[in-house]
């Protein structure tokens, strides 16, 4: 595998370096080698599993920021504003959304006076507006004396924000790379799994009595189409998904699949499968094979089915491995996505299905979604990547103030 020599990438510090390239081209290893130049000083490696850099010692966001703080309060306040981070200091860090945790991780690295910070595919967990703000904050970190190294699969969407950053393209170790299959897509889910139209009528729900998050959800979704669901943090996107899956029971309103009124909370997952943003909470077994099998056994006894799906998602080389023995976030994300798609539920909700995936892989995932829709399934996608959304040519749903606004694609 050809890799760029990390010692040659940045000769003067502080600096900002963006590592470009495909998945498995050595970018993560390069980030770690770059950070190793700062041994003896504070450094922060922020992986896509951003939970791992929340210290677990701060009972509140405020305490988390205080931990090991070296910068002054006014500097931290200014940086928080630059990040456009709007989180209460009394909130438990573990209850933040993924994007908020990314912001907190960046803020803490700044507050602790880290000499170097590496961000490994975390910026794509932010919506475009906050992604731009984070890149601006990276400039502030550099001005304060820190070097920042970034791997960003969505660089093309925000490249103009990376002013003065060095761009280094990592070479591709093509033959060893576990790629998504780019040829004809095989059978990935239950044959004849045709969805019925999904009608949501006057759905109302909140976590506390008297405080509804979803006020009057009224929408009809048709199978064979792709819908993009957008909305700011806290507007209730994942709550809506949980209602459709059957994890939660609405206060009022109805959900219909075709003509039949459904009560999903009585038979969870029967009509709607949901792929989480975080893959790791969806990996229940001790091997990749059995993980995929847990979904496929609902409709197929053919062992070739698992192999087909594994090959499609570039997992053929790790079938016998424990999911958490796979260091690569990219592969675990693909595994979780594959296992969800392989479910027999006709409707799919996919939350950030391309997190961590390079451009080519995101393109293949878009083709897979198109194929599933053409086979009659109903698909709802949540994503912060404008490029990926454009590839899907979806109908647009916006969740705002507890209602859904719809416009065609």
């Amino acid at each position: 595998m050809n890799t760029v020599n990390a010692a040659q990438i940045a000769t003067t510090h502080p600096t900002t370096v963006v590592l470009d390239g495909m998945n498995f081209s050595g970018r993560t290893d390069a980030l770690k080698k770059l950070l190793s130049q700062f041994s003896g000083k504070r450094a922060s490696f922020v992986p896509p599993e951003v939970d791992h850099v929340i210290s677990g010692l701060g009972a509140t966001v405020g305490e988390e920021i205080q931990l090991g703080r070296r910068r002054q309060k006014d500097e931290i306040d200014a940086f928080t504003a630059a990040l456009q981070m709007r989180v209460s200091h009394s909130q438990n860090p573990m209850t933040l959304s993924g994007g908020e945790k990314v912001q907190l991780a960046i803020l803490c690295a700044y507050a602790r006076g880290c000499a170097a910070v590496a961000l490994d595919v975390v910026l794509e967990q932010l919506d475009p507006r906050r992604r731009e703000a984070a890149i601006g904050a990276i400039r502030t970190m550099q001005e304060a004396g820190a070097s920042v190294f970034v791997v960003d699969n969505r660089r093309s969407e925000t490249w103009e924000c990376y002013a003065d950053a060095q761009l280094v393209t990592m070479s591709d170790g093509a033959s060893a790379r576990p790629r998504l299959h780019t040829g004809t897509i095989g059978r990935l889910s239950k044959p004849d799994s045709v969805a019925e139209p999904l009608s949501i009528n006057r759905l109302r729900f909140g976590y506390q009595r008297g405080q509804a998050i979803l006020h009057d959800i009224q929408v009809t979704l048709l199978p064979g189409r792709v819908y993009h669901l957008s909305g700011e943090n806290g507007t209730g996107k994942s709550t809506l998904a949980k209602l459709l899956v059957g994890r939660l029971q609405p206060w009022s309103g109805e959900i219909r699949f075709g003509e039949v009124r459904s009560q999903p909370w009585r038979q969870p997952g029967r009509h709607v499968a949901y792929h989480f943003q975080d893959p790791d909470v969806q990996l229940f077994t001790t091997s990749v094979r059995s993980e995929i099998e847990s979904s496929t056994r609902q409709w197929s006894r053919d062992p070739g089915t698992v192999s087909t799906i594994a090959r499609q998602f570039g997992l053929a080389g790790v079938l016998g491995r424990h999911p958490f023995e796979i260091d690569s976030y990219v592969l675990r994300k693909r595994l979780a996505l594959a296992a969800t798609i392989a479910c027999s539920a006709p409707w799919l909700i996919l939350d950030e299905p391309t997190l961590g995936q390079d451009d080519e892989s995101a393109g293949v995932i878009a083709r897979i979604i198109d194929l599933l829709a053409s086979q009659g399934r109903g698909i709802m996608v949540i994503s912060h990547s404008p490029d990926f959304i454009a590839r899907l040519n979806p109908s647009y749903l916006t969740l705002r103030n507890g209602v859904i606004l719809q416009r065609g694609g």
Partner: protein, 231 residues
């Protein structure tokens, strides 16, 4: 201090909450479901195996101190039992007496196997850890008895209390009734807990099992095999 020793030390600190959480979660669950077991030391046993005696004792004692505030205020008085559980687990693990096995049809890597699976084969393959579990129950029963007598008047509200009542009726002293009742119920509970803890460790990927510096002890109990570790 060497960097790797420092990392292991910090990892051991960081894993303590996981053990405490397992103790409290399982213990509360079985209590709510009114099951005839306690299952409140699975975390203690698991962390002792993963991270050593000191960590296991901290998990055990802290579980019951914290549980005393958040779950059941009588738990702290049994912290001594938790400490003893950790000590016993560490001792038997050091001897390598916790090797478990599955009948050959299960296909678990690295385990001895003979004929096709059957209950009898499973029992034979797991005889030593089962005996260790029984021993742990005996020890736990002996250590808990004085606390139950002094604080509870012999009655803890569990099914074992019925045995105590029966023994009292038959003329046994309070202490002997509590002791015998404990010796009747604890071995099964502690055996289940021991096997559950080993099961939790088996659910971990190999590289995580040895992240806390106890590779030797785990290997002695067939919970770690370098040959199965993928580079």
């Amino acid at each position: 201090m060497q960097p790797d020793k420092k990392k292991i030390r910090l990892r051991v600190v960081a894993v303590v909450p996981a053990g405490i959480a397992v103790n409290l979660a399982l213990g509360t669950l079985v209590h709510t479901l009114k099951l005839p077991v306690y299952l409140d030391a699975v975390g203690t046993i698991a962390v002792t195996l993963l991270a050593g005696l000191r960590a296991g004792m901290i998990v055990g004692v802290a579980s019951f101190l914290i549980g005393g505030v958040t779950v059941n205020p009588v738990l702290p008085w049994f912290s001594g039992t938790q400490a003893v559980i950790a000590i016993y687990t560490y001792f038997v693990a050091k001897q390598g007496w916790l090797r478990t096995g599955r009948p050959s049809s299960a296909g678990d890597s690295g385990e001895s196997s003979s004929a096709s699976g059957s209950s009898r084969e499973w029992l034979l393959l797991n005889l030593r850890p089962i005996v260790c579990g029984v021993g742990l129950g005996v020890v736990a029963g002996i250590v808990s008895a004085p606390v139950i007598v002094a604080l509870f008047g012999g009655i803890t509200g569990s099914g074992a209390s019925l045995v105590v009542a029966f023994l009292l009726e038959s003329g046994q002293t309070l202490f002997r009734s509590v002791l015998l009742s404990g010796l009747a119920s604890e071995p099964l509970d502690k055996t289940i807990q021991l096997l559950l803890a080993i099961g939790l460790i088996r659910a971990l990927p190999s590289q995580l099992r040895v992240a806390f510096g106890q590779a030797d002890m785990l290997a002695r109990n067939a919970l770690y095999d370098k040959a199965t570790l993928h580079e």
